[in-house]
Amino acid sequence: MDALQLLQLIHHGVWVALAAIAVVRVARRPTRTSLDIALFFAGIALFVIESRVLAVVDLPGGEALRAAGVILVVALPYLLLRILDDFAPVRPWIMRASEASVVPSAVVLLAFQDAQLPLAALLYVVAAFAAVAIYSAAVAVRVARGSSGVTRSRMRSIAAGAYFLGLGILVAGVGAVLPAATAVAAAVTQLCAVASALSFFVGFAPPGPVRRYWQIPELRGFLARASTLPRTGMDELVREIEEVAGRSLGARAAIGLWDETAGVLRFARSGGMPSVVGPGSPYLVWRSFAEQSPVYVSDAATANPAAADEYRRVGVGPVLLAPITAGERRLGVLAVTARREPIFAEEDLEFVRLMAQQAAVLMESRTLIDEAARVRAQEETARLKEDFVSAAAHDLKTPLTTIVAQAQLIERRAEREGRAGELPGIRRLVSETLRLSRLVEELLDASRLERGAFEMMLDDADLAAVVREVATYDRPGVERIKLEVAGPLRGRFDARRMAQLVDNLIDNALKYSPAQSSVEVRAWSEDGLARVAVRDAGIGIPPAELPDLFNRFRRASNVDHRRYGGIGLGLFICRGIAEQHGGRIWVETELGRGSVFQVEIPLRGAVPRSPGLEAGTVRA
């Protein structure tokens, strides 16, 4: 066996092997394209087998077989155009012409079967073959230019196959015309045939590994960009993922985002998809989302007749769908669609699933980043507000110092000098400036609590003594207070703060109850807890407002704001003081009957709840 024969054996082997693969494929998935591909490869393979078999044994009816082989060969250009038509539009008249040329070509070849072909006939056959091959190559190149990713690589392969086919035929023609060049021409023709077979096969029906080899650079590029993507908005992110997915598959990709409130999927850019898809919609994309399963169909219209018209209208053939889901969170669906069936293979579904997973990670992190930014902005606003309150209250203190002390000085002088007529007015001035001073202090306290900067000075103290002292302050309505203290209640308290708390509760009780009713103030110990209760027979608090009662700027709605001054910080601060002592405050109330505010503080080892407070570190 010489080199030429070996080359021919390889050439024949390749075609037969590829034909076998194509036939297996069409058996597995009988579609128009796979059938065309199988016919094309099988046609050549049959011719090869038949010619080799006939060369060895002289079969009966060998003539008829030979004739069938010739017809198969002359039908090849037509079969090639058929496959091409599945991938890219082939002009109808060319299809018709190639169909029509099968018959004269066959006649010519059969007529001169064992004799030398006349030059004109030879030229005709070679020209017909070469024209179809070159036309196919040109179409494939044009489609490759307009596409991307896998599709582009496939079209390039097809173009290469067509070029090699054309070249092989031309060289074979030259070899037939010039006997001197026969050996060389035969070798070149064999090489071209092998190259053409492989190129066609890879282009028409790329095996999984080749497909992945083409997809990997796109996927890698996508992953490399992924780290920078979340800095952009969700919209840009979605567009970018769509673009990369589309590019790598050489098709249209669209992401349907799950709109939880509306319960629908929304597609921002059509990409062959409707803009809104919801429950009860006939589209495959809804099925993929609802069932959370990837979907591949080679032809949407056949797979889903309910929406066939719509699929045909927007030109959707094969569809790849993969849900985008981060953990339990359903974010949407990645949909990749193409116009022509053979653009995708089932193996691409895995790739789309991978893309969808990446998309889920990116979109989830985008969401988290957005969320974090919003929380940060909120916190920043809150902090600025607190800083402002703190600074404003602080700036109020200096002028207040002068006003308070100066007013008191004037009062003192008026008292000493016996200017009785001026005294009531001066006393009003003093008491109102003191009230103003207290309000500023309340604002500051509230702000300190918000900022976690509420300073406590815990000392051994007797809460019973504190309650007794506060309850017997000389104040309007003090005679209504019924005091019942079972003391001593020794523990670690900030006596000034506890006095502030009890004072506030007594103040409220006196303020929000009828003038003649009594206010009960009790202090006792129970289970290692110091307890203080302040009961009034007042207006009570509407139940709906109880949960917010101890929050900032909350005042019960049944309070006449003009009659009772206050900015709604008292109970917030009371709660803060109780909690800073490791205790709690609550209220039992009945509308129109009155309320009981209760405080309990652990008697021993009272520890401030939040760390970082300066309590205990300052000892004068």
């Binding site: 703190s390 602080h394 203190k397 200096t398 002028p399 207040l400 110092t401 002068t402 006003i403 308070v404 002390a405 100066q406 008191q408 000085l409 003192r412 002088r413 003191l434 001073s437 500023v440 500051l444 300190r448 900067a453 300073e455 000075m457 300066e614 300052v618 000892r619 004068a620």
Partner: protein
């Protein structure tokens, strides 16, 4: 920090008020002079140190945040001079008590204070009974 006997008797009714806010200085002078104290005023720490060199006092009412020389600087220089004087920190700042500790002051008074608070604290350092404790000149 307690006032040495000799100085205390000579300065027993003199108070040094240091504050960059003139109305606070006016207020303190008004209140304390009415109670028979002599009030010396300074608008910053530097001026206060200069005044102390000329006139002994029984207590310094010290604002902390001031231009030129602040409360911390004043306390530091006072210590360097070996002068021992009762100092009361008077401030509107949140951490009045911590600052008082920091500079080794004897007491603090948070703004806004009340008339009685100021009188009580000055009385504590400059009162009649205290001067009686000091040795006779």
């Amino acid at each position: 920090m307690t006032s040495p006997g000799v100085e205390a008797t000579r300065a027993q009714r003199s108070v040094l008020a240091v504050d960059d806010d003139p109305s606070i200085l006016g207020l303190m002078a008004d209140i304390l002079s009415g109670e028979g104290y002599r009030v010396v005023s300074a608008s910053d720490g530097r001026q206060a140190l200069d005044l102390l060199a000329q006139e002994p006092v029984c207590v310094v009412l010290l604002d902390m945040r001031m231009p030129r020389l602040d409360g911390w600087g004043f306390a530091r220089e006072l210590r360097q001079r070996g002068q021992r004087l009762p100092v009361v920190v008077v401030t509107a700042a949140e951490n009045a008590r911590a600052w008082a500790e920091e500079i080794g002051a004897d007491a603090y008074l948070a703004k806004p204070f009340q008339l009685a608070d100021l009188l009580e604290i000055v009385e504590r350092f400059c009162g009649e009974d205290r001067s009686a404790e000091g040795p006779a000149a």
